[in-house]
């Protein structure tokens, strides 16, 4: 029996008295597109943070590709093939776009410890960076410092950073947040065109994006997983409509 890409067992995260995530269990098969929906404060980002390793869970277990990673350091999970984006753009503001991508590429290689040769002298890194920038449509901005980029361009870079490390499991936290319809479409296309061997778990508020992308939808509310199903099943479910009143 092939292991899942991501498996979470009874995951709980509390902050003081607040139960941000409450006994959530889910399994994401390899290659699936899973979308997490739920109103603000439902615990989606907290769940992400526990799975990617930036927050330690209060209890429960997390598995990536069959290996337990519950207490594994964040950077080691990335080395296993995890990639993520942030809801609030988290790029490198005082570096150029090209340098941002290079950081992502070298992050999972031994090259990050080379200190006697310039970065420019690694053509394989530069070529790969060019390809990644091409994919998200930022090649023309490669020499620009990030703080010159528009918000939309930064969201593109945000996604590019996660993709450039060639993850096997991609965690996207509201990749389209704050974008105009055309920008939203572009991000959507990039995501849907990703190869099927990449597992994608996506938090999304935009119902159209969510339902267009998803194989399966998981619904969170107040830290608990209240429903899982296909997009159609979820769309028609009365409890979900209630939780999401006015959003669909």
């Amino acid at each position: 029996m092939e292991s899942h890409a991501v498996e979470i067992t009874e995951l709980t995260k509390t902050f003081g008295g607040v139960h941000a995530v409450e006994k959530v269990s889910l399994q994401v098969p390899i290659g699936q597109r899973r979308v997490l929906i739920g109103p603000n404060g439902a615990g989606k980002t907290t769940l992400f943070n526990c799975v990617t390793g930036s927050l330690p869970p209060t209890s429960g277990r997390i598995f990536l590709f069959g290996k337990e990673v519950t207490h594994l350091a964040e950077h080691l999970r990335t080395a296993m093939g995890l990639g993520r984006t942030y809801q609030i753009t988290n790029v490198f503001p005082d570096l150029t776009v090209l340098e941002n991508i290079i950081l992502s590429i070298q992050g999972t290689t031994r090259k990050k410890w080379v200190l006697h040769r310039p970065v420019k002298s690694f053509p394989e890194i530069l070529d790969r960076a060019a390809a990644e920038l091409e994919r998200v449509g930022l090649k023309h901005r490669q020499a620009d410092s990030v703080h010159l980029l528009s918000y939309g361009e930064r969201r593109q870079l945000e996604l590019a950073l996660a993709l450039a490390s060639r993850p096997r499991a991609l965690f996207l936290d509201e990749p389209c947040s704050g974008l105009s319809p055309s920008e939203r479409q572009r991000i959507f296309n990039i995501i849907t065109q990703l190869p099927r061997d990449i597992t994608i778990v996506c938090i999304e508020h935009d119902m159209q994006v969510a339902l267009g992308l998803a194989d399966q939808v998981s619904v969170l509310h107040r830290g608990r997983l209240i429903l899982e199903g296909t997009p159609d099943e979820v769309k028609l479910n009365p409890e979900v409509r209630e939780v999401y009143l006015g959003k669909v």
Partner: protein, 321 residues
């Protein structure tokens, strides 16, 4: 590089070559100090401008290296070929230990480095039997390796330019390397670096140790220039002045620390010639720089984490994309 820059560089080289003859011993000595403390400031900038860590203990590495070389040459009669590398080595060992401070961050890191700097200063002052206490250690001979013997400060002037030049070239390779880029990534967003697979703690430690080694290198350069070392060289004001030089000149650049060193030392030399209150002037320079010139001459200081100002990128960004 534009032709204009090349001409300026050439002029600078000619000027530097003949400074002892053209300007005299005072200026030659001042230029040597600028170079030596410029390297010290460079070591601080590796952490400040490139990694986002504000260390105030680098005088400790500087002094420990100088003391080691001095003690080996003066008290144990060891030759330069042994004493100089030993000085750098001991400084590096100290930075391996002090590097554990990177486990703290933010203002705690600053405070811890201050405290660590004081430990070393305290040892230099109180362990009189070994360090000579407040009297320090003097009569350090000029360096001599085999047939190459430095016999005057003027000769050392030229050696210093060569050594500092080599050091700067090495530093340039370092900051342009993948490791250098990693440090700047850490400066900009530690969280994203972790998410991209970097062991941030390990990189910070490595940066700290490297920076300590560079400061130790400066310390060995220093002892052969000054030929006397005392606890004052390990004291807190020296570490702070090194940081100030970086900021005056511009963080995250190679030239900035040297420019800052030049501005600061020239100003101090002028001032102490006219008045005793150079400590006051130093303090006022600190205050003025922080309040009115946080940009420095070459770079920008906006937040705790500062950014490099690479003229090449600015020019390219100005072009149509």
């Amino acid at each position: 590089m534009a032709t204009r820059n090349l001409i300026l560089l050439l002029a600078g080289v000619v000027f530097a070559l003949f400074a002892p003859q053209l300007l005299g011993a005072f200026w030659a000595s001042l230029i040597m100090q600028i170079l030596i403390f410029g390297v010290l400031a460079l070591s601080v900038d590796l952490l400040l401008g490139h990694t986002g860590m504000f260390s105030l203990c680098h005088a400790a590495f500087f002094a420990v290296a100088a003391y080691t070389t001095a003690i080996l040459q003066v008290r144990y009669g060891q030759p330069t070929i042994l004493a100089a590398p030993a000085g750098i080595l001991v400084g590096c060992l100290l930075s391996l230990i002090y590097g554990l401070a990177v486990r703290t961050s933010g203002v705690y890191f600053i405070l811890v480095t201050i405290a660590m700097g004081y430990i070393l200063w305290g040892v230099a002052v109180r362990w009189g039997s070994f360090t000579g206490g407040d009297n320090g250690i003097g009569n350090v001979p000029f360096p001599a390796i085999g047939p190459l013997k430095v016999t005057s400060l003027t000769a050392y002037y030229y050696i210093l330019w060569i050594l500092v030049g080599l050091g700067v070239l090495g530093y340039r390779l370092l900051i342009q390397s993948p490791f250098g880029l990693t440090l700047r990534g850490i400066r900009d967003s530690e969280s994203r670096m972790r998410a991209l697979g970097y062991n941030v703690g390990r990189h910070k430690y490595a940066a700290f140790v490297l920076s300590g080694c560079i400061a130790s290198f400066a310390g060995v350069l220093y002892i052969y220039f000054n030929r006397f070392i005392s606890p004052a060289t390990a004291a807190f004001p020296i570490s702070v002045e090194a940081a100030l030089m970086v900021i005056i000149g511009g963080v995250g650049t190679i030239l900035g620390p040297f420019i800052g060193s030049a501005v600061f030392l020239i100003m101090r030399n002028y001032v102490s010639a006219y008045m005793d209150q150079w400590m006051t002037i130093t303090g006022l320079v600190f205050i003025a720089t922080v309040l009115w010139a946080p940009n420095g001459f070459l770079g920008l200081l906006k937040k705790y984490r500062t950014r490099p100002q690479d003229p090449k990128h600015r020019a390219e960004a100005g072009k149509t994309g």
